[in-house]
């Protein structure tokens, strides 16, 4: 059964490209600063490797997936592990909508950091909406 007191955030965390890296920063921003008491971070690798605590987290709490590219790995893996996705963030849409582009994976740059903040705010709004239901 879902416990709607906590929302799990699953960023794709793709290291190869800037949007993947950005998903991590945004997720950190939410879990550490914006909604520290109502969210928890789930890393994708232990989830795939069936680490019990990670699988339990996506099965027992509503999930927001944060994908960096059209492959949508965070979404696919969450579904595969039986997670219940209640919110989604797709970074390319934010890049397009706000005309802000991160420089690279190792240096997001000023626009990238601004984007982190915007994405994090969006996730926080989704968290509140999920918990209000």
């Amino acid at each position: 059964m879902e416990t709607a007191k906590l929302v799990s955030i699953v960023p794709c965390a793709g290291l190869e490209k800037a949007p993947g890296f950005l998903t991590c920063y945004a997720a950190f921003e939410v879990v550490e600063k914006l909604r520290p008491n109502t969210t928890s971070l789930v890393a994708i690798t232990p989830l795939m490797e069936n680490v019990e605590s990670s699988v339990r987290q996506v099965k027992t709490h509503p999930v927001i997936v944060v994908d960096g590219c059209p492959q949508r790995c965070a979404t696919k893996l969450t579904v595969k592990k039986g997670g219940r996705i209640r919110g989604r963030v797709f970074i390319p849409c934010f890049i397009q909508k706000h005309s802000l582009k991160p420089i690279s994976a190792s240096d997001l740059g000023a626009e990238g950091l601004q984007l982190v903040s915007i994405v994090a705010q969006d996730i926080a709004v989704q968290v509140d909406r999920i918990l209000a239901k």
């Binding site: 960023p11 794709c12 965390a13 793709g14 290291l15 190869e16 490209k17 993947g20 890296f21 991590c24 920063y25 997720a27 950190f28 921003e29 879990v31 550490e32 928890s40 971070l41 789930v42 890393a43 994708i44 690798t45 232990p46 795939m48 490797e49 680490v51 492959q71 790995c73 965070a74 696919k76 893996l77 690279s104 994976a105 190792s106």
Partner: protein, 136 residues
């Protein structure tokens, strides 16, 4: 058969829920961007896990170093499962034991200790890359 004189792949764990996972990612980017650019590349671990054929073929055909944050060794296990044994495996928490004065906190801010530890991890990755290239 492994092709010689090729790039070395570095696969970092994405364990964002531990500081060591973040260190593994930073160390990997240091290697790719600054310490061994041109000699190394990284693959997208989420895509690799999702079944990306190019990612899996790369780790099958080229020597790969896995960099894990903790003893769960998720990056190593995944690489072993889908592409074969990595050429070398590095665990950040093991390296951190050698430098107890570089204490990490749980914050997402890596801080100066975290950056210093990332540099130590990157040094170890570079050492392994040199060994692999020497043997190829």
């Amino acid at each position: 058969m492994k092709r010689s004189k090729v790039k070395v792949g570095v696969v970092s764990c994405s364990g964002e829920d531990y500081p060591e996972g973040t260190i593994s990612r930073i160390a990997t980017r240091l290697i790719i961007d600054k310490i061994r650019p041109g000699q190394t590349t990284t693959i997208c671990l989420p895509l690799f896990l999702c079944g990306g054929e190019n990612e899996r073929a790369f780790a099958r055909d080229y020597p790969t170093i896995t960099v894990d944050g903790c003893s769960k060794r998720c990056a190593e296990r995944s690489t072993r499962k889908y592409s074969g044994a990595p050429a070398a495996s590095i665990i950040v928490s093991e390296i951190a034991k050698k430098y107890p004065f570089l204490k990490l906190d749980d914050s997402d801010e890596v801080g100066s200790n975290g950056m210093k530890l990332a540099e130590k991890v990157a040094d170890e990755i570079a050492h392994q890359i040199d060994k692999i290239i020497e043997q190829s």
